[in-house]
């Protein structure tokens, strides 16, 4: 039995978070959820995540601000940012800070799952 793939979902919107958690668990991932930066940092202590799926806009430190911390704490984690579409400038900034991919809300569940698989190196990085 291989190690289950661990995913951390960070979003301040409870419904959005629940949707992502439901969908990812359905896919067989081990999912931990956090509603803000502080909870996310807390969750990172003690275990390593393969993928961190994080909203950009949150109260307190934004997703962008959290990236460097995660990069230091768990360099192996792939970081996926979520934000409203049209927000191209923060896409560039996120990439600069070390996010591996970006999802523009609203995205389809298939899109999200594909991005996760890509981040895990299970799919070709070339867009489908």
């Amino acid at each position: 039995m291989p190690e289950p793939t661990r995913i951390l979902v960070v979003d301040d919107d409870a419904d959005m978070r629940a949707l992502l958690v439901d969908e990812l668990r359905q896919e067989g991932y081990e999912v931990t959820e956090a509603s803000d930066g502080a909870e996310a940092v807390l969750a990172c202590r003690g275990q390593t995540f393969d993928v961190i799926l994080m909203d950009k806009n949150m109260p307190g430190p934004s997703g962008l601000d959290l990236i460097p911390g995660f990069r230091r704490a768990s360099p192996a984690s792939r970081i996926l940012m979520m934000t409203a579409f049209g927000d191209v400038s923060s896409y560039v900034e996120a990439a600069e800070r070390g996010a591996s991919d970006y999802l523009f809300k609203p995205f389809r569940m298939d899109e999200m799952k594909l991005a996760i698989r890509r981040a895990l190196g299970l799919e070709s990085a070339a867009p489908g």
Binding site: D11, D13, D15, M16, L19, L20, D22, E23, Q26, D55, N57, T83, A84, F85, G86, D87, V88, S89, V92, F104, K105, P106, F107, R108, M109, D110
Partner: protein, 516 residues
């Protein structure tokens, strides 16, 4: 002016006429007097000749009977009125006279002449002027007799009167001709062109600058007309230049306004997309799950299909809106900053916002070129300068400069940076002396719809747009403020390297950039 000249000329002419007239009159009077003296002389000679003839006749014949014959026909002499011979006793011996003349009689003058044997002559002014000459002579018995001759002076007086009238009339005629010709000449040579000038000036005052004065003369009036035409031409040119300038300014302002509006809509759309992105995602995500797990032949399926279709539709609408309003990628070319700023300053000067705030550009003309989109850079500077103007108290100065270090002193200064400038870059500082902002306020200035301005004044999008533009240009915007002292905005724009910017200026800019 022409009226004054005409009046002066006429007055002088009248004076001249009066003087020459007086001289001529005096001359006439002298002439008359000379004529009267001459006539007196003639009459005296005549009287003497007559006296000699009478004496000889009386001596020869011893009687007076032949004397009447002597006097016959004597009245044919022009102007002679009366001839009478008095004997020593004072009696009239013979006489002849023209009709209507008082008959001769002894009077004091004849009596004196008879007694003293002295000739006498008088001018009688009464009625028609006449000359009376009494000539005594020796009678037969050696006693004294006298001959009286009266000569009319009416001819001379008539001549004089006629000449006087001639002088006056001729002077008046000359004066009249003079006045008429002066008036005509003035009217032709001055009044007419001056009237044309007045018409032209009036037309220009009413805004018709196509007026030219058609006067082809080489005198002062012609020169005046030519100057006038030249003035009208240069006025017309100046007005056209002004018109073109204000049209260009209006065009730029319209362009900037349109860009601002589009950017505002874009910002708003982005904000909306941001806010509804998550809830929409929740709905569509849940619907997708339902779609997957519900049986295909479930009776309620069509409701789910509608939800899926409609969420897709909302997504498409927002995407289309964002595509429409997304700021276009900047067309970056080497641009000189100073002309851009000058154009923006022009736009600002045309607005009421200026309120006496002065703009000082402390920039050398040979600043190195930056790599940018002229239109977007104008928008950037317009937003920043508008903010600076709005923050400034009346009569204050907004300063624009270039340099590696901030203008505001470090003490008490708070700051915020957006974007990251590609090196090497040109830092432009815009400094106002407004109220400034504290750290808390400063932290929000780049958020859309955050405005410190009075309601209805700011859109709350000026600085977010500035941020968008500098990011799209690979530049940065830094905002420094000291509460109570003022605010400084530093925009860093990438230099256009290897372009036609003067090498010396580029060297200086490179130093400045390294100095940061």
């Amino acid at each position: 002016m022409t009226h004054l000249t005409t009046r002066l000329v006429i007055l002088l002419a009248a004076l001249l006429m009066a003087v020459t007239g007086a001289y001529d009159y005096h001359h006439l009077v002298q002439e008359r007097d000379r004529a009267i003296t001459q006539a007196g002389e003639d009459v005296r000679v005549f009287a003497e000749t007559l006296a000699v003839a009478i004496r000889k006749n009386v001596r020869r014949s011893g009687t007076t009977t032949e004397l009447q014959g002597l006097l016959d026909g004597i009245l044919a002499r022009p102007g002679l009125m009366l001839v009478a011979v008095f004997d020593p006793g004072g009696r009239v011996v013979v006489s002849t006279a023209v009709p209507d003349v008082r008959p001769p009689a002894v009077d004091a003058a004849i009596d004196t002449a008879l007694r003293r044997r002295e000739p006498a002559s008088f001018t009688l002014p009464t009625g028609s002027p006449q000359l009376r000459v009494i000539r005594p002579f020796r009678w037969l018995d050696d006693r004294t007799a006298a001959v009286e001759v009266r000569q009319s002076l009416a001819d001379i007086e008539q001549d004089f009167t006629r000449s006087r009238k001639d002088v006056i009339v001729s002077r008046l005629v000359v004066l009249l001709l003079f006045v008429v010709s002066i008036v005509a000449v003035t009217r032709w040579s001055i009044a007419r062109p001056v009237r044309a000038l007045i018409r032209g000036a009036r037309a220009i005052a009413e805004g018709d600058l196509s007026q030219r004065i058609d006067v082809t003369r080489s005198d002062e009036v012609g020169e005046l007309a030519r100057e006038f035409s030249r003035m009208a031409a240069s006025l017309s040119t100046a007005r056209q230049a002004l018109l073109a300038e204000s049209e260009a300014r209006l065009g730029l302002e319209r362009e900037v306004h349109q860009a601002q509006r589009l950017a505002a809509v874009g910002m708003l759309a982005a904000e909306v997309a941001h806010e509804i992105g998550t809830p929409l995602n929740v709905i569509s995500g849940r619907a997708e799950i339902l779609d997957r797990i519900l049986a295909a032949d479930l009776p309620g399926r069509r409701h789910l299909d509608v939800i899926l279709r409609q969420t897709e539709r909302i997504t498409a609408i927002i995407r289309a809106l964002l595509d429409y309003t997304r700021p276009r990628r900047p067309a970056r070319r080497p641009e000189a900053v100073v002309p851009l700023l000058a154009r923006v300053a022009d736009v600002l000067a045309g607005r009421d916002r200026a309120k006496g705030v002065r703009l000082r550009l402390d920039l050398p003309w040979d600043l190195p070129f930056v790599l940018g989109d002229a239109e977007q850079l104008q928008q950037l500077f317009l937003n920043l300068l508008t903010n600076a103007f709005d923050a400034s108290p009346a009569g204050a100065e907004v300063r624009v400069s270039a340099g590696p270090t901030p203008v505001l002193p470090e003490e008490g200064r708070v700051g915020i940076v957006r974007g990251k400038a590609d090196e090497p870059s040109l830092p432009i500082h815009i400094v106002d002396t407004g109220p400034g902002m504290d750290a808390e306020r400063l932290a929000h200035v780049f958020e859309p719809f955050f405005s410190t301005k009075k309601l209805g004044r700011g859109t709350g999008l000026g600085l977010p747009i500035v941020e968008e533009i500098v990011r799209a240009h690979g530049g940065s915007v830094e905002m420094l403020s000291i509460p109570g002292h003022g605010t400084e905005v530093i925009v860093r724009l990438p230099l256009a390297l290897g372009e036609e910017a003067p090498s010396a200026a580029r060297g200086v800019a490179a130093q400045e950039v390294r100095g940061r």
